[in-house]
Amino acid sequence: MIRTQVLICGGTGCTSSGSVAIGEALEEQIVLKGLQEEVKVVHTGCFGLCALGPVMIVYPEGTFYSMVKVEDVPEIVEEHLLKGRVVDRLVYKEHEGQELHEVPSLGETGFYKTQKRVALRNCGLINPEQIDEYIAMDGYEALGKVLTTMTPEDVIQVMKDSGLRGRGGGGFPTGMKWDFAARNKVPQKYVVCNADEGDPGAFMDRSVLEGDPHAVLEAMAIAGYAIGANKGYIYVRAEYPIAVKRLNIAINQAREYGLLGKNIFDTGFDFDIETRLGAGAFVCGEETALLTSIEGNRGEPKAKPPFPANKGLFGEPTIINNVETLANIPQIILKGAEWFSSMGTERSKGTKVFALGGKIVNTGLVEIPLGTTLREIIYDIGGGIPGGKEFKAVQTGGPSGGCIPACHLDTPIDYDNLIAIGSMMGSGGMIVTDETTCMVDFARFFLDFTVDESCGKCTPCRIGTRRLLEMLDKITSGQATLEDLDKMEELCYYIKANALCALGQTAPNPVLSTLRYFRNEYEAHVVEKRCPAGVCKKLLQYKIIEDKCKGCTLCARKCPVNAISGTVKQPHVIDQTKCIKCGACMENCKFGAIEKK
């Protein structure tokens, strides 16, 4: 009889920090100690605290171990699993020196306390490769309820009443989308799941697919019933190998159980799902480009209308829902629209998953009710900025979004508020920057991305974003004039107004929002030829402060391009024509004799 279960994270983050080897070592040690009848190892999806990986949790005690190494495994098995003594040094503590008895249960830690897990509810709790574990968590019950007790109209009404809006970025009401497709009375329709998560820094869809793939399948079948479709496609990036593997396992298990396929629950309803792998083009996350790609063509967007709900995949009515959107749906069906709409704000209901990254202590995935403030997410849940640095801005919405400065930290997050302050929800990536980030360089990073990813079909995006990037290069190299800033702004508005798809229309957002909130940084680059954060290399100079230099020669030895010269015990000098501004001299100087301006 199993008395203890060890849940070990098998998400991409922990897998890359070695959780597979730890799982194997655990199994081995458990057999060695003869505990295989008493202790079970369960590989789950993402727990959310990726910064601390590999993580594991031991039930029933609920002990949370972080940053576990293979070498730690024998101690965990011998001490904890056999003798019941928690391995103090590996227990996740919120701050240094916290005593074991002071460590709160996982649900009470700052990171998890204010989270509300709906889309992520099973991530880190069940083994995603076992359909039975999903069923134990009320899985497929929503599908059963829909097929046996509700009409398609009822389902759509529940979705409308819940107020669920698309979690992929646009925020379009899901119930309305379904309704449009349902009104088209044709024999062939499609349900498509958009799992082509492409925003740099966003990984919530991956985590749902890896941690709870059946929730997505169940929701797609529910959507199929609601709109009258019997075929679904999941368009998922090939760069997500673990997600693809678990999806395929899940699809096969659901087919074996008859939860996909013909005559589901003996109701005469047929529904089946196939996966299609994307080749990693950002534009294929745009719905019309995604459909074109499934059809076997080059992934390029089309003008809307016609909207996919009327004329989509292979010319038939199609609904496209994002992974996170779908993951909410079985819960809404089971618990009701009112339950869901009781969370969130007036026009943005429910919860949203955010991927916290950048200059923040708790890098990871968090799910919070909409209406939570940025400050709560960054400081209470995210643990603030590491190294005592000062917060500068948070970027939301990826390459389509914008930067939000400190003065807006108390804004409750929802779709409309974010747009009002010049950003957008996007898929929920949240990149935190601190005083050492140059906002011009930051905007340039995103522009570099969109220029790379522009599909080239329309001119404003193909050429416009390229020109925009060149202007940013001019600024970061100190060659721009104030006139260039105005020209750049004008170009931004031109691209926004004229690009074909949402990717192009939103591409200038990172530039516009940094111009709006950090114009002073742009002006410092242009007028003073100076980068205030000390990032833009062309505007930087490393100098040796004569008085402080002891002539130890360390910097000269560390310099990769031999730009530093001088004799022993005499102040050294940097040859600015040779210097590549790598900063190696400054990092290595023991006397603080090198400055960066």
Binding site: R3, Q5, Y59, E61, G84, E133, Y140, E141, G258, D266
Partner: protein, 123 residues
């Protein structure tokens, strides 16, 4: 699978296997599993508790867990039962058979098995 009933059967069968992860704490049965406890036979006792709790369908409210040395090694295996505000009950010199009776009469029935408790033994 052709009916909701079959789905529910799988769910009920699996529920026990995942309920461990929900950390219910209404009643906690803690078995001393230090070297002394293990040497005195604490493992079969622990397993008997786990099995009996599941068999009687109590796993929704009862957590069976281990701890290190409780401090009275001569009385091992020692088992303590914690329940809300009630005073803890300490059982000593436990065996698998005694464990079954404790689950039946104390955990399910609500009446501690006085003759196995430390008070009875020490007197």
């Amino acid at each position: 699978m052709k009916s909701l009933k079959e789905l529910q059967e799988i769910r009920d069968r699996m529920k026990n296997k995942v309920s461990l992860r929900e950390g219910t704490n209404e009643i906690r049965i803690v078995v001393g599993m230090a070297t002394c406890g293990i040497a005195a036979g604490a493992r079969p006792v622990l397993n008997a508790f786990v099995e009996q709790v599941n068999e009687l369908g109590l796993s929704d409210t009862v957590t069976v867990t281990q701890t290190g040395c409780i401090g009275m090694c001569r009385n091992e295996p020692i088992v303590e039962v914690f329940q809300g505000d009630k005073e803890r009950v300490t059982y000593v010199k436990m065996t698998a058979q005694k464990a079954e009776r404790v689950v039946r009469e104390h955990i399910k029935g609500g009446k501690p098995v006085v003759e196995y408790t430390i008070g009875a033994m020490e007197n």
